[in-house]
Amino acid sequence: MNDPHDHDDDRGDAYDGEREAVAAPRLDHGSHGSRGLPAVAALVRLARSPAAWQAGAPELAEAAGPASLDELSRRAFFRLAGAGAVAAGLAACSSRPAREILPYANQPPELVPGVPLHYATGLVEDGFATGVLVASHEGHPTKIEGNPDHPASLGATRAIEQAAVLALFDPERARTITDRGVPAAWAAIEAMLAAAAARRGLGLHLVLEPTSSPLVIELVQRVRAALPAAGLTFWSPFTPRAQLAGNRLAFGRPLQTQLELGAAEVIVTLDADLVGEHPMALAYARRISDRRRVVDGDSAMSRLYAIEAAYTPTGVIADHRLRVRGSQIEHVAAELCAQLIRQGVRVPPIAQPLAGRAAVAERAHWIKVIARDLVRAAGRSVVAVGERQPPAVHAIAAAINTALGNVGRTVGFSEPVVFEAGQPSHDGPGLGGLGGLGVLVRAIEHGDVTSLLVLAGNPAYTAPADLGLAGAIARVATSLYLGLYDNETARACRFVVPALHDLEQWGVARAYDGTITPLQPVIEPLFSGSSVTDVLHRLLGDLPASAHDRMAAAWRRLMPEVPLDAALALGAVGGSALPLVAVDVAWDALTPVIAGAGTGEPPTLELAIRPHPFVHDGRYANNPWLLELPEPTTKLTWDNAAQLSPRTAARLAIDDGDVVALIVADQAAGGAVDRTIEVPAIIVPGHADGAITLHAGFGRDGGERIARGIGANAFALWTTAAGLHPPVTVVARGTRHALAVTQVTMRDDGRPLALSGTLSELGGDTLRAELARHRGPQPSLYAAFPAQGPQWAMSIDLTTCTGCTACVMACAAENNTPVVGKRQVLNGRVMHWLRIDRYVGPSGASGASGPSGPSGDDADEPSARVQPMTCQHCELAPCEYVCPVEATTHSPDGLNEMTYNRCVGTRFCSNNCPYKVRRFNWFDLKEHGGLRIAARNPDVTVRDRGVMEKCTYCVQRIRRAEIDARIADRRIRPDEVRTACQQACPAQAIAFGSLTDPVSAVVLHRRRPHSYAVLHDQGTVPRTQYLARIRNRNGALR
């Protein structure tokens, strides 16, 4: 029996509690002094600036009255932000040196109220930039889309980019410089920096995040020159290390692997989540999907073999998936290599002995088949390896790709994009040695470090546990942290300088392929933030020039041939990708590596720590949107959990939600120390046996009120000596923990919902007949209503959908759907309009030779089918005729419309919705006041308590397109309207358009033989149809 409103401080209430705090700022906010005034001040300053006056906009200056950001009303914020931005625009018209930020593609003559402008910039993670377009309403960013002209985005985004706009407006961001929690001024810090710079940097140590920014690199090199004695460490827990080390093994120098998946016919992934976790995931997902868009039975389709431990999005779209625990993938790689040699792949004689290696019995057939496929597609195949595999595996893959002649065609190698990547300054655990931070800690212990500058990341939290970095930092005389939050590192350091959010700063970063991405601020800094370059400049004693001027100057120096404005307008510098380098494998060095690969004895139970798909290494953990977003594999929200296979769970006699202690012995400490965390278990069908996967980024205990205390800290089990797959002991604690999963039942009970089949079956009649039963006209007693104008419809391709959940986040960001907190999620009250159903086990539409999933369908080898599910906009909508007050009705253009103002909240419509896609405002869920409301989309109504809501097909975008078309006196173009989910989808699995438009993508989709409607037999005539999940199965396997 759940108590509706005891406000104990459990995890579910973290968000609610925080919300109250935002509405009425508390003392701890107050202690930060100015309480956001700087932001307003900045806007006011801008609005009052001479530029604005010259441009003759006194009323703007009037509009920008003083206020405090916390008790700022939504309107007031718009007015201020609007005034600031308009002033910026006007200033552009004046003669003074340009300060303006440049709109994407075409610069508008003026800012049209109500019409968002899009600015191109980039979001950087671990040094890799993803190009985005930021929609800005009256001067404040409301929505982030992918930049089609950026190679790492191609127009798509991950959930993380979608949620960045909320992170920008996070009221808990660090707001002012503090000295041990007390507000301080730059003067104190400059004194510290001066002292640090003295004695040519002796006793000074800098910790930066891996960076690809030419601006930062330039400064770092100047620091190196000016302060040669200063220590320098680049730290981020999940930056690519093994790959570079592996390529060094193979080619003698650290190189970055670049995949050209568009040309790949056969792809074999070794624990590599190419479409989920890879820095290039968006582009890779797009390239892979482009080779897998099935039109009919004889479509050309690439084949994807996923060999992995956890069930990743890559595994979801794979044609064949083999469950292998992380530590054994090394064996698989070696066996594959040997098998290829046996099958005649040409390698230097020195490598011939490798062929002797035999495969483990149960997968020998697999290896043989895969090898055959690779050989068949030699030159058009790819073997990709993930970051959690040791260098040896990367080296083997490099050798295989070389031997198969893939290098130069589907696989390339470039110099690292990240500065000094692969160098000692980047070393981390898992590669032997202590890694860069280990060296730092040693130095601190020897008293060699007197001042420490931590200029990004959150090393005190993410560093390997055995280093005890937080304690070490505390021992440093003077330490400075530049960061967005009052997090673990901030609490260990003396000085804390608020950092600028990516959307607030000028800068440059490179994409994974090296493409140069200029960053421009889309809003004046909300708080008095600084960038890394600011601090480095001050360290070097430069006169602090304005960020824009510094950037412009540096740009002229680094890229004289490319005008900055052009680059800013496009969001990327075309052709600036790093060139591929010619390589040849050092076989003599490599042969013993391969021979010795995977000879070690595997532990009975091993642990793999992965970055969480949404909070990554914890840096996004204070973002309620991301915390409430269902994790793609487990559908878990507001938590992390130990994932393990049903068989392993049975062996350990633990069940979903049982709290277990994960114990890792720390050899570095002489095996004396047992590192233990307590975390609930969650059973994941399809997970490799004998392995536990745990997502990092939770169990935070910094000052972020939302992130704090949620989940368990995986880094506490991470030691320098542990390696990538440390043996782990599991002890059931006998207690239980409520897991807030958004999907309780994962088996589809044999129901024909997410249909699937194989390419060959699609050629045959059985599957076609089966699918035909799920579409076409249904008998009806009613005469069809006259259709006027376009008839909107959607089609979703289950073959390419990876279940990455970016669409869900995009939908929430576009449509202002509220966050409800853990307890409400537990009570089935999550408010997402779009959900991704995941079914494991036998596929629904089963006939003798009917559709079925890949690689077996029993509990141990399940096939996961994902199915984005949202309002189907039924033509004979069951929800409509049961509404007693005409609150949900049908529009002439085929939309199932909700009239919020008319809804009395009987919830009858939800009961009669066979797809259960309607969401109800059980409480007053919307935020009142606070900073976060600035992230709302002003084009979408914020729903009131007690009304029903649901997917609208992004009707606001449809109406916008209609208005534009009317203004331009033309018809709406095919595929002109794009829904938020469609726009975000990396795989472009969603098509949207009008059925009256013969060339629209949705119509083309519907002509395909595998287009079908869910619950077609219910006669609801849904406007959303699906393309059945088609697998390009290799007949030789089962």
Binding site: Q743, T745, M746, L753, G828, P884
Partner: protein, 463 residues
């Protein structure tokens, strides 16, 4: 007049007593039946009143909470968007039906045994409908807009959407309540007049006098009263059938597996009368003892009601079985899943088996005449049937919703303490109204009893 003399229950075993024990004079009958309104308050009554009063206060506290914070304080969720609110609504309105059944249908069937209990049961109807009528309002997300379900010239030009079963509900429940009130009041007028002329205290006389409207039992008044009473009975009869049929259409008109069923209207009506009789027994057995009415409410009455409950129990059982057959015969996998898998073996399997025991098994005791005459057994069974019928609505509403078409959206429903508090509160409020009713008006129709007595005597004199 002194305390009424009560003929003892002189009933030879195996022989059913008459509907009236002894042949009290008009004066004695009047005294005995009218005096329930001015007899001194017993301790038992005060205790019951205190308990019900407390529960009623709790009810309105819960209602306030619900309206202030939102419907989220209940356990409802997606997919189980209807929970205790609608269960209680259907349950209470069903209970009301026995009252109308006894007072109207049995009147038309000229069943003498209905005479002494019809006002009692009709009162039960009214108070049950009052409980029921609260829920359609309370369960709304925005109860303050409930009037949008009724047609009125809105400035927005909008109207109710009458293809939905909910406006039908609104009309049916409103009609049912008003017609019941009118029927009840019309029968009450002669007795109010009697109280006007007999009640001890002057204030009472004045009050009763006002409500008696000046009734003096003239030929003309009796002439129209008789016809109007019969007509109201005639109208109430199809009405009572229509009301629960319409309630059942809230479910039957949807496509939800477990709701989408043409058997619902008759099935619901039978179930309603079933639970109603259970509630009549639950109330009457104590009331009869407290007010010492063994001569006018005799074992004959209980025997008849027990037989009717047995019949209704079999109708319900038949409906359960028929549903099983229909879904199996339909071959629809979604429909079949509900009664074949979800209800008996799903998350709420225990509730299903308890329901079967209460509604189908335990009532079989009434095959035995001895059991039908054993008030303890009757009372216990009545309570069980009340529970069973509540669980039946739970099965239909919550269990069906918790697992519908897409397994991805399946979710369990757990009631909050607000849900339970409101349910208990309505029981208390119902009891409170009933206790007041017992003290306010003669709950055995005096004039009708005297007339029946006259007829009995008449028949006895001239066989």
């Amino acid at each position: 007049m002194t305390a009424p003399t009560l003929p003892a229950e002189g009933v030879p075993p195996g022989v059913l007593p008459d509907v009236l024990v002894g042949r009290p004079s008009d004066a004695e009958l009047s005294e005995q039946l009218l005096s329930t309104t001015w007899r001194p308050w017993t301790r038992g009554w005060k205790l019951a009143f205190a308990i019900c009063g407390a529960l009623t206060v709790n009810l309105f506290a819960m209602i306030t909470l619900t309206v202030l914070r939102g419907i989220g304080v209940w356990g409802n969720n997606i997919p189980v968007a209807w929970g205790f609110g609608i269960i209680n609504f259907v349950w209470w309105i069903g209970i009301g039906h026995a009252g109308t059944f006894i007072s109207a249908i049995l009147l038309l069937l000229e069943q003498r045994w209905r005479t002494s209990i019809n006002r009692f049961t009709e009162g039960m109807t009214l108070f049950a409908v009052i409980q029921a009528a609260m829920f359609p309002l309370l369960h709304l997300g925005r109860p303050w807009f409930a009037y949008w379900l009724f047609p009125y010239p809105s400035v927005m030009g909008t109207w109710p959407q009458v293809r939905s079963a909910l406006p039908w509900d609104a009309a049916a429940v409103t009609t049912y309540f008003l017609v019941s009130v009118m029927f009840w009041y019309l029968g009450l007028i002669p007795d109010l007049a009697a109280l006007r002329d007999r009640a001890p205290a002057r204030t009472r006389r004045i009050l009763y006098g006002i409500f008696a409207l000046g009734w003096r039992g003239s030929v003309q008044q009796w002439r129209h009263h008789k016809v109007a009473y019969l007509l109201l009975a005639g109208l109430a009869t199809p009405l009572v059938v229509s009301v629960h049929s319409i309630v059942s259409l809230d479910f039957a008109t949807t496509g939800l597996p477990g709701w989408h069923s043409t058997i619902f209207p008759p099935f619901f009506v039978a179930g309603a009368i079933f639970s109603g009789f259970a509630m009549v027994l639950t109330l009457m057995i104590p009331a009869r003892r407290v007010f010492r009415l063994h001569n006018v409410i005799t074992l004959r009455h209980f025997d008849a009601m027990a037989k009717l409950m047995l019949v209704m129990s079999w109708i319900a059982t038949y409906a359960y079985v028929a549903e099983l057959f229909v879904v199996w015969y339909s071959g629809d996998r979604y429909e079949a899943y509900q009664p074949l898998v979800n209800r008996p073996f799903g998350w709420y399997g225990w509730a299903f088996w308890v329901m079967v025991f209460c509604n189908c098994v335990v009532t079989q005791l009434f095959w035995s005449r001895r059991m039908r005459k054993n008030l303890t057994v009757l009372f216990a069974v009545a309570l069980l049937v009340n529970l069973g019928m509540w669980l039946e609505r739970f099965e239909i509403i919550v269990v069906s919703l918790s697992r519908d078409f897409l397994p991805s959206s399946w979710h369990i429903f757990v009631p909050t303490w607000v849900d339970l508090g409101i349910l208990a509160g309505t029981l208390g409020f119902f009891g409170l109204l009933f206790l007041v009713f017992l003290r306010l008006v003669p709950f055995v129709p005096v004039s009708e009893m005297k007339q029946m007595r006259a007829e009995i005597v008449h028949d006895e004199v001239r066989p």
